[in-house]
């Protein structure tokens, strides 16, 4: 997936000289997670810019550059550090088109890894999907596979609005087919990655892998789960989710982040209000534990949703051995 993200950036930088990349360690180090490998060499230090460790400042610099029509890709080493810059992302980037009555748009992409990695503890493991998805004026993307990472990032870079692009460190090493040549996916479209008739399982980003594994297990137990990868958290593709629930009558939403006011809450609240009559069982969430992420490996594992829990809850909503 690492290469898919790099290729999306490289191809857009070749196509459009107003696209550039900035962030900590993106140039000479080629990315703290080696996502920007080769970019400095190809595009030079004017278009691949190492910044000081000043998230508020360089996010603002990116937004300012976008005011002049450049198309900055602002990398946060991880999204945890973007809390320092969130005022610029929300107040300066997301709100300006509206505040200016449409006179000033901001084509800027903020990207980097989001959520838990491996034993990096509380300050380095937060999932920010729900916060950004809360905010009108932002588009929020969270791809699961390499093809989507490339297609959606390409779309994000070309998009005239600010996009928050949430990657996942634990997916960087994943391999997957990426279509040859230009590949642009559409923002705002979920995808049914596995069709099924008994229960709808919704997730995104790394959560999809747990859900696909659960679906596999469930299939062996005669439960055919339909798996939806949201791909974009804002705007949410309500139609795809609601359509699925109309067929399956059951839904479980799986997220790595904290549940309160999370993406799962939004999905479930939407389904409850808009597909109430279709539901044959309580709509359920499986989520990360409501704790700051612990360091110890065995505690960390307990803090994240696992395949067994997804299977169990899916069986519960199907009223199997409950």
């Amino acid at each position: 997936m690492r290469e898919a993200i790099r290729d999306a950036m490289a191809e857009e930088m070749r196509r459009d000289e107003s696209v550039f990349l900035m962030g900590e360690e993106v140039a000479e180090y080629e990315g703290a997670y080696k996502v920007s490998q080769g970019l400095l060499q190809e595009f030079g230090p004017e278009r691949v810019v190492d910044t000081p460790i000043t998230e508020a400042g360089f996010a603002g610099v990116g937004v300012g550059a976008a005011m002049m029509g450049l198309r900055p890709i602002v990398e946060f080493m991880t999204w945890n550090f973007a809390m320092q810059a969130i005022d610029q992302i929300v107040n300066s980037a997301a709100k300006t088109r509206y505040m200016s009555g449409g006179r000033l748009g901001l084509p800027v992409v903020f990207r980097g890894p989001n959520g838990a990695a491996s034993q990096v503890a509380a300050q380095h493991s937060q999932d920010y999907g729900a916060w950004y998805a809360h905010v009108p004026g932002l588009k929020v993307v969270a791809p699961f596979d390499a093809a989507d990472a490339k297609g959606l990032l390409t779309a994000a870079i070309r998009d005239p609005d600010p996009v928050v692009f949430l990657e996942h460190e634990l997916l960087y090493g994943d391999t997957g087919q990426v279509p040859d040549g230009e590949h642009v996916a559409e923002l705002g479209r979920a995808r049914v990655v596995r069709p099924g008739r008994d229960v709808t399982l919704v997730s995104w980003s790394r959560g999809v892998s747990a859900v696909l594994a659960a679906a596999e297990t469930l299939a062996g137990q005669d439960i055919e789960a339909e798996v939806i990868d949201l791909r974009t958290l804002r705007p949410l593709d309500r139609a795809t989710v609601l359509g699925s629930v109309q067929r399956t009558h059951r839904i479980v939403c799986v997220e790595e982040g904290w549940p309160s006011c999370g993406i799962g809450a939004e999905v479930i609240a939407t389904v409850s209000a808009e597909a109430f009559d279709a539901l044959d069982a309580p709509p359920r969430r499986v989520s990360g534990a409501e704790v700051p992420m612990p360091y110890a490996a065995h505690l960390e594992a307990l803090a994240l949703p696992d395949v067994e829990t997804v299977v169990r809850v899916a069986r519960e909503v199907c009223y199997v051995d409950v």
Partner: protein, 362 residues
């Protein structure tokens, strides 16, 4: 290093207002080496232009204050009265293709850029034809076509934004310079320091202008800043700084020209501290009890930029008092017409609530 650089003596004498205003003009601080002094050569017509521009800002803001008091304008409204020399002097130093960005006290900066007063007033009245379609209000006005980038409500946030504008100007290999305004309160914001560091590190074409009007809301400079000589705030980053009499439009213009030349030539940022003053409260709702009436009156009496220029024009025999009165009448009429034109605009359409969130129009 920058702190130890020296500039030619005698800069003060170059302003025709300086002798008049010597009792209050602040002394000049060192400027970086290699700056030639710009010879302003001020023919009477130029001084008249300065006077007229400042008076327009004054009368416009006074009228806006009245409209606010009458309930026609809502929300926060920050007037620029007293600080006119800064916006006018800097605008005269700036090229029209040099981008400008400031905070919420932005009506004046827009109008000197050439935005029609009725579009500003229309915005304040929430009109469809207001410069932000009635959605932004006093604090959020933009006109990219005139290289004006807002109008920002979060103290200090426009400083990284302006720095990003400067980044883009350099990226595009232009010779344009971004002028970024902020207040004495804003200068302590961490992101301002972050922006200073990047601008100096990357030698960005930017002139930072701190409008030191002595107060951030109710807090006097020395209660908010450990060092109250704010032009020194760039020292830790090697950014040359200069203190300027911000009540003297000619001194402002000259300092602006020098600073812009520095930044335009690729030598990186400059920080200008404009010692100025606001006569009104912080916003329309501030009774300004943190200072005495006498303090305000003294500045009005001794340092008012409009009176100072008027005095000079009269004493130099360029115009007489009657002619100045005629100018004032004309400007008042212009403002009245702008208000009438704005009031005649249609209100923003209710359907506009859901547009301009994203590019597609919604």
């Amino acid at each position: 290093m920058a702190a130890s650089k020296r500039v030619e003596e005698g800069a003060r004498e170059l302003s025709p207002l300086a002798s008049l205003a010597a009792r209050s003009a602040a002394s000049y601080e060192p400027m970086p080496n290699g700056h030639e002094q710009v010879d302003l050569g001020l023919p009477p017509g130029e001084l008249l232009d300065i006077h007229r521009r400042m008076l327009l800002l004054r009368r416009l803001e006074e009228r806006i204050g009245q409209l606010y008091a009458m309930g026609e304008i809502g929300g926060f409204c920050h007037l620029y009265i007293g600080q006119e020399a800064v916006a006018v002097g800097m605008e005269r130093a700036t090229r029209s293709d040099d981008p400008v960005i400031t905070a919420y006290r932005c009506h004046a900066h827009m109008v000197v850029r050439g935005v029609a007063p009725e579009l500003v007033i229309g915005e304040l009245l929430g009109k469809a034809e207001g410069v932000s379609g009635g959605k932004g209000g006093s604090m959020h006005m933009f006109d990219p076509a005139r290289n004006f980038y807002g109008g920002h409500g979060i103290v200090g946030a426009q400083v990284p934004l302006g720095t990003g504008i400067a980044f883009a100007l350099k990226y595009r290999k232009t010779d344009r310079v971004c002028v970024t305004y902020f207040g004495d309160g804003a200068i302590s914001q961490g992101q301002v320091a972050e922006a200073f560091n990047m601008a100096a590190l990357w030698k960005l074409p930017i002139v930072y202008v701190v409008e030191n009007n002595q107060y951030g809301m109710g807090t006097a400079v020395d209660r908010a800043s450990a060092v109250s000589a704010l032009h020194k705030r760039g020292e830790s980053f090697g950014i040359p700084g200069q203190e300027v009499d911000g009540m003297d439009p000619v001194a402002v213009e000259r300092a602006g020209l020098t600073a812009l030349k520095h930044a335009r030539s690729g030598r990186g940022p400059v920080l200008l501290e404009m010692k100025t003053y606001r006569y009104r409260g912080h916003s329309m709702s501030d009774p300004a009890l943190y200072r005495t009436r006498e303090e305000v009156q003294k500045v009005r009496d001794e340092r008012d930029p409009i009176s100072r220029v008027a005095e000079l024009l009269v004493s130099a025999g360029v115009v007489d008092a009657d002619q100045l009165k005629a100018v004032d009448r004309e400007i008042r009429a212009t403002v009245m017409e702008a208000v009438a034109a704005a009031q005649a605009m249609p209100d923003a359409d209710p359907a506009e609530l859901m547009t301009d969130i994203y590019s597609g129009g919604s």
